[in-house]
Symmetry: C2
Amino acid sequence: MEKRLVVALDIKDGEKAIRMARDLSPEVFAMKINWPLVLYSKPEIISEIASFSRVICDFKVADIPNTNRLIVERVRDLGAYAVIVHSVFGHDSLSAAVEAAGDTRVIAVVSMSHPGAREFIGPLGDRLLDLALSSGTYGIIAPGNDPETLSALKSRSGSLKIFTPGIGAQGGDPAEAVRAGSDYLIVGRAIYDSPDPLGEARRINDRISKATLPQ
Amino acid sequence: MEKRLVVALDIKDGEKAIRMARDLSPEVFAMKINWPLVLYSKPEIISEIASFSRVICDFKVADIPNTNRLIVERVRDLGAYAVIVHSVFGHDSLSAAVEAAGDTRVIAVVSMSHPGAREFIGPLGDRLLDLALSSGTYGIIAPGNDPETLSALKSRSGSLKIFTPGIGAQGGDPAEAVRAGSDYLIVGRAIYDSPDPLGEARRINDRISKATLPQ
């Protein structure tokens, strides 16, 4: 069975990131990296990790259409499997990313779960999801530690793949997230801070497998 | 008189970026760079450009508080003068950037002028400006090619410095932008695509100077 675990390498250490990608690759669907890792190492870390595992560039791309295009073209050429792009900057910014991505997938942010997300983007959630649906994106980010919001997004998201952070250290339970509609579960600290990251990844995969068995 | 021209190095070529920073430094307040330049060269390009000129990292920082903090700490340590951060992700994400920035300034995005900006963030403009005002940011981005919006933002922005893109190739007139309230004028293509970038920078500075003379 294909793995559904995405490990968020929210770390600065490029050597550790490559080591974890190599060691964890049999247990993961993809590794997710973000800007701090690039800023503390180099852009080519995307390709280096991609030699072991799919790479999701969680770059929260958030600019005008032309800049979004240039960012996405570059991460595509560096071998990223997917790139995470904000939808809140409108149809043209999101479409520019999708058009530039080619075979690289675009995963749209349509909700976030830190407290400040409630101020502006939270109330826009339904419209942001509509935009993701109409823009040719591959998937969306939905909260793995908020089953109610996750279920609501799932019910309206058609064939979009659902990637859920917030699992593990941030309170989300893998089995519960799967039942609420998560396709891919993003786990960070619980794995990369573990004394036994591979063992922890296996334990989470076991929990995902059990939750997806026919009842 | 201190220069008020910011050159947007919206290019991919690191060598050209450094050459332009060196050659244009007497005529500019700062050079503005964005993610594509980093992705096509290396993070340390920030420090290299900073050896010639102030550097504004137009990274449209757009993540949860902790990731914003890590991005801003790194650009601060690489010697950036300022970093551009989105306000639409709420008080905690913006404040995390301001707290991490130290002596590096945070410039908040409170409006954008591509068509898709009208869909979601446009209507939030007043509230985004209020957040920038209450979060200890140094300045805001305001459209240099829309004097009406620029004046409206200026009238409510207190002591925030106003940085205005959209000058030159995108239609904004330097003198008009200054009169509408711009403190720093951001010019990209009109300079970096010019056969004579230094001459073009001087011409724009002349226009700014004339617009700021006592009438």
